[in-house]
Symmetry: C2
């Protein structure tokens, strides 16, 4: 008999990633651009990736038994509905039932950061941990909480909105409207917002070509590495507030491990020191001693891998 | 056969409360002043209360089967050790073993806010909830988290230090050293600190007799009810920051219920409105809709009742 196989998808704003998980952790992956113009175009991208992965599974001689999908936003995991997504034009979409019907596969849908947390817990930087918190640091900040070795979803499936804990009440706003939340201070969009403000005041960052009045977070990282003092300060500030937010999470949940993934971790050299300083200043000593802080082992693929694991665990 | 009975104690800075829990919820209670001069005097107060409760149990014809003790501070529940207490001169004290030896009863020790959370979950304002968070609002702010119907203690027993989540990084300090934490902004000591600052600037609160340059929180409440605008503003500010902290907890944990106890809840009429405004502004909508916010049903006795329940549940 062939090994069990599951498909996992992570539908991001710019890219749809897919993996085929075979057995206990062999993974094949592929990615395609997401066409985010409409609900239909997003669904088409998902179905294209599923078709390609099934074809590939056929060549391996395995037949996928289930499908998991991770999506940024508010997901009603119980009913399989995408309530709202910040990056995709989906609202109150019964994605589980739609994809289940199209593919004939048992389907589960969850928040992408929940999926990433599960993947790190099962196969990555949180392996073997009973209590773990995962943060995804990208344009926004997402969170996933593992308690007793299982994803913790809360009373109505909306737990772990850790980008929206407030660390500087009255501080800068984001699209979400929660002034001073972690996402408003330590996400990619926060770094970009602050860089833009500096440029409006006449800042010319060292070592990067400026397009208009906006820099992306990678540009700000390049400028910092080229020695630009203002860019370095932006990353120090980002790291500091990230550390404060992590200390809040550590004080509330006393996890064994706190893991971090997402595009922003590429600037680890620029923010990890002030981050650790913020954590050690604000975490209560017993909990600080108990936690290990690690970057992801699965990187950008954590969401899709976790979606496949979710599907595999639902099948048991 | 007589009904099972358990003794619960809550050793506070000024008072030691004790209860005898008989059957599924019949409670007899008594309190004595805590003599906090030394480790010995604290232990003596505990043993005095235990003796009186056993005497009372004898008259009821029941014999206590176990003892639970709740204490403010860092408690190593696993080993039964009081690591550190803010209000009592106890440090690295193996209280479980000491009291177990003295009384001959199986003994458990836990943080007082954990005990209060358990009591509200089993017999009070959180009855029937799977996921609940409890806050004790007194001189300091303590927290207890119930997940899946059980106390959540974290990786090293120090979870739920919810007074030490940071809501205003860089804000006022407390004894704990965590500037801008919830305790520094929304506890009794925060209200008293702000009142003292105002008095140093010449404020004369309406309707209360001033002793020296300090008012306690009850005085500030009396002044606010007498119509003093500065006192009213202090409670509004306290309520606002409490609401911000509660929103953080709600966003992280998506509880069914958030319950509140402690002396400060006597000023509920003065702070609950700005508190709810802070919660609704900062909680993510799905989690806000799912949570009910209630004051305690067991009041100041929650800690002792919870300690007795902890002992009873440990016996099963």
């Amino acid at each position: 008999m062939s090994e069990p196989a599951f498909i996992g998808l992570d539908a991001g704003g710019t890219r749809t990633r897919g993996v085929l998980l075979v057995g206990k952790g062999r993974v094949t992956s592929l990615a395609r651009p997401t066409d985010g113009r409409s609900e239909e175009s997003v669904l088409r991208a998902l179905l294209d990736v599923i078709r390609d992965l099934r074809e590939y599974a056929g060549r391996l001689g395995v037949s996928p038994l289930g499908l998991g999908v991770g999506i940024a936003g508010y997901i009603d995991h119980e009913r399989g509905v995408v309530t709202e997504s910040p990056n995709l034009p989906l609202r109150d979409l019964p994605l589980r039932d739609l994809l289940g019907r199209e593919t004939g596969l048992p389907t589960v849908v969850d928040n992408d950061a929940n999926c990433a947390a599960l993947a790190e817990n099962r196969l990555g930087a949180g392996r073997g941990c009973r209590h773990q918190v995962h943060l995804t640091l990208g344009t926004g900040i997402g969170g996933g909480i593992i308690i007793g070795g299982e994803l913790y979803r809360g009373a109505s499936g909306s737990a772990a909105e850790l980008g929206h804990i407030i660390v500087l009440e009255g501080g800068p706003q984001t699209a979400c409207g929660h002034g001073g939340c972690l996402e408003a201070l330590a996400s990619g969009s926060a770094v970009e917002r602050e860089a833009k403000l500096l440029m409006e005041e006449g800042w010319m960052p060292l070592g990067v070509k400026v397009k208009g009045s906006e820099l992306n977070a990678a540009d700000v990282a390049a400028a910092a590495r080229a020695g630009d003092p203002a860019a370095r300060t932006l990353w120090e500030r980002m790291g500091h507030f990230l550390g404060v937010g992590m200390a809040c999470i550590i004080n509330a949940l006393n996890p064994e491990r706190l893991t971090l993934s997402g595009g922003l971790t590429e600037a680890w050299d620029l923010f990890s020191e002030p981050m650790m300083e913020g954590v050690s200043r604000h975490a209560v000593p017993l909990s600080f001693e108990a936690v290990r802080i690690l970057t992801s082992e699965l990187g950008d693929w954590g969401g899709a891998i976790g979606a496949a694991i979710l599907s595999a665990e639902a099948a048991h």
